[in-house]
Symmetry: C2
Subunit: 364 residues, 2 copies
C-alpha cells in the first residue's frame, strides 16, 4: 500500500478532500486488484485522513481480497446504484468534500455528472499528471515482470524470423507468432502485431495482409505481449535472400542511430537529447525526411506512457524509467527499417530488456 | 450519409445547436471512416443547418476521403491544437452554440473541459441514447458483414472441437483456434477467446490455462471475431469421451431453453419474454440457481450493445435487431454448459447467423 500512501500524502499536502480513482489500470497500480468491469463502476476512494474504500460489483469482492486489499470493500449487485455507495462511504467518514481528484482523461462525462449529482458542491481537479508521474519510475518487482514480457517479445521475433519463406504471407507469419506466444500462456498482445514486408514495411498505415514474402524484401516485425499487466514492445527488421547497397545503408544507419541513442542513456541526461542524437545521425546520412516519428515512448502497464521521448522534452532521465528506443527510416516503394528495444535506466547507464540480435540478418 | 441526415434531423427537431461526436465507433458508424487515434482527437461536428465537418490528424485526411467523406475536413499536425479547429469550424458557420450533443459515456472529462473552454456558454446534452437507438436496427449491408463474422466464429468452434485431445491444454486449443482464424485474415478477436474444460467451464471468472482435457470433461468455447468493424460471438459446449446422466440433463435443458427462446423471436415480442421463457425451462428442470446471467445482449460494432435481453426489458423486438441468445447452467465442480447464437429478427421471425451444430457432441 506504499503507492496509496503517496497519493494520500499528496492529498494532504494539497488540501484535496478525496481522490476518486476508477480507471482499471490506475486501480491495479494502486491496489494490485485487476479487473475489466466494462461499464460497471469499480472505484477507489482515498481520503487525506480517513480509511480508503473500494467499491465494486459483488462478484468481484473475493478477488479484491485475494489481491491483498485489506481496506473497506463495498459491493453492489446489478440492481443497486453504486453511486449511493460512494455517497455512503463519504458520509460514514464525515468527510466534507470541497475538491476531488479525478483522472480527467480517463473519466467519462457520464461519471462526472454522477459525481456532481452526488456532491453538488464538489470541485473536480485532474490528478492524472500526478498519477502518471508516480508510474514513471518502476520498482524492482515491476522490472522483473517487464523483463519477462520483453523476453517473450524476443521469442515472438525469433518465431517470426524462422517462419520467413518465399511465398508465405505476412498474415500467416503473424498468426504463427501469436500461436507460439499464446501456447506459452500469453493472453493478450500489447497491440496488434505487425508483420510488414517489402514496400509495405515503409507504410506507416501498414496492416499485415496477404502480401507474400519475396526475394529482396525487408520484413519488419513490431510486437509485444501483456504479462501480469505489463507490456513489452520490440521491433526488428530482417532482409530476405539479399539486400541492395541502399537497403544495407538504411539498415546500418538505423542501427547506428539506435546504438548512439542507447549509449547516451543514463540518469540526468535530458530526454530530448536521445531523439536529437539519433535524428542527427539519420539526417547526416541523408534520410532526415524519412524518420517521421519520435524516438520512443515510456512503457509499463500501458504500451504508451510517460516519458515521451521527443525532440523537445527537457525532463531528465531517472533511474527506473522504462521506455523504448526505436528510430526508423521509411523509404516509399523501397521499404522501411525500424529497430526498437525496451530500455531501463540503471544507476549509471541503461540495460536493454529486449535482447534479440540487431546485426543485419539476411534470411536465406 | 443517410445516418448523418437522421442525426441532423434530430438536432433540428430538438433545437440542438451542434453534435460533437468523437468516439471511434460512432464516427465509423456515421461516416464509414475508421481509425483508432488513441489520445488524438478525431471529431465529427454536425449542425442543424450548416455543413458537417470532420477534424482529424493530418496523416488521416487521405483515409477520410477514401472512406467516402465528401464534407469539410480540417487536418492538424502534432504541434497544432485541434480545439482551435473546432472553434474555427463553428465560427465559420456563424453557429450560435447553446446546446451541444455529446456522447456522455464515451467523452472524457478532459475533453469536456476543452469543449467548455472553447464555448463557455454551451450546455452539454447526452446524445448516446439516440445514437445507440439508431444502431439497434441493422441495415442489409451490416447484416451481410455480421453473417460473415458469424461464419468465422462457427469455423473457430470447428477448429477447437477438432483440436480436443486427452492431455491437450485449454491454452493450446485456444492458440490453435486463433491461429487458424488469423490465417484467414482476422485481425482481432471480438473479446478474449474462452476455452474452458471440466470444472473450469462452470467458473464465471474462468481464464483458459494449462488445465488439460480429461475424459468426462465438458469443453466450453466462447469466441468471436471482428470483421470490417462488426463482431460475432458464439458459444458451444461439447463433451470429451463420455458424459454422466446429469451432464446430459444439463446439456439438454440448456439446449431446450435456447431453442424455446429462439422460437419466440419475432417482431413485436417483448424482449423480457425471451429471458423468461428460457429461465422458466431451466428453473423447472431444477437449475434456476445456476443460470446467473441475462439471456443475451445486442451485437454489432460492439460485442455488447443494445438491446439488453434481460428479465425486465419491456421494449419490443423489431426487424433488423441483432443479438445473442445464450442461456447457461453452471454447476460448481461438475461443469458448465452455455449455448449461444447470434440472431437477427426478420420480417416474421428470426434467423441465426451462427450455425455450428447444437446437438450434444461427445468427442472421442
Amino acid at each position: 500500500m506504499e503507492r496509496i500512501k503517496r497519493v494520500i500524502e499528496w492529498l494532504k499536502d494539497n488540501d484535496h478532500s478525496m481522490a476518486f480513482i476508477q480507471d482499471k489500470t490506475s486501480i491495479f497500480y494502486l491496489t494490485g486488484f485487476y479487473c475489466d468491469p466494462h461499464e460497471r463502476l469499480v472505484s477507489l476512494l482515498l481520503f487525506p485522513e480517513a480509511e480508503p474504500c473500494l467499491i465494486c460489483p459483488n462478484m468481484e469482492t473475493s478477488l479484491v481480497k485475494e489481491a491483498g486489499w485489506t481496506g473497506e470493500i463495498l459491493g453492489y449487485s446489478d440492481i443497486e446504484d453504486p453511486w449511493l455507495l460512494v455517497r455512503q462511504a463519504v458520509e460514514k467518514r464525515n468527510a466534507v468534500l470541497t475538491s476531488c481528484i479525478v483522472e480527467a482523461p480517463r473519466l467519462t462525462y457520464a461519471r462526472v455528472q454522477a459525481l456532481q449529482d452526488a456532491f453538488p458542491a464538489i470541485k473536480l481537479i485532474d490528478g492524472e499528471p500526478f498519477l502518471m508521474e508516480l508510474r514513471k519510475q518502476k520498482s524492482a518487482k515491476e522490472l522483473t515482470t517487464l523483463k519477462e514480457a520483453a523476453a517473450l517479445a524476443d521469442y515472438g521475433v525469433e518465431v517470426g524470423v524462422q517462419a520467413i519463406q518465399e511465398g508465405r504471407s505476412e498474415i500467416e507469419i503473424l498468426a504463427l507468432i501469436e500461436y507460439e506466444l499464446k501456447r506459452k500462456g500469453v493472453r493478450d498482445m500489447s497491440f496488434g502485431t505487425l508483420v510488414l514486408s517489402g514496400d509495405q514495411s515503409a507504410n506507416p498505415h501498414g496492416n499485415p495482409g496477404q502480401r507474400t514474402i519475396k526475394k529482396g524484401d525487408f520484413v519488419l516485425f513490431d510486437l509485444g505481449v501483456v504479462l501480469d499487466g505489463y507490456c513489452s514492445d520490440i521491433t526488428r527488421t530482417v532482409a530476405f535472400h539479399h539486400v541492395t547497397d541502399q537497403q544495407q545503408d538504411i539498415y546500418e544507419t538505423v542501427r547506428k542511430a539506435q546504438q548512439a541513442a542507447l549509449d547516451a542513456c543514463r540518469p540526468g541526461v535530458e530526454i530530448r537529447t536521445l531523439d536529437q542524437i539519433a535524428r542527427t545521425i539519420i539526417t547526416e546520412a541523408g534520410y532526415g525526411d524519412y524518420f517521421p516519428h519520435r524516438i520512443g515512448h515510456g512503457l509499463g502497464m500501458e504500451v504508451h506512457e510517460l516519458p515521451s521521448l521527443n525532440e523537445t522534452n527537457t525532463d531528465r532521465l531517472q533511474k527506473g524509467m522504462v521506455f523504448t528506443i526505436e528510430p526508423g527510416i521509411y523509404l516509399p516503394s523501397i521499404g522501411g527499417v525500424r529497430i526498437e528495444d525496451d530500455v531501463v535506466i540503471t544507476e549509471d547507464g541503461y540495460q536493454t530488456l529486449t535482447n534479440y540480435p540487431k546485426n543485419l540478418q539476411i534470411i536465406t
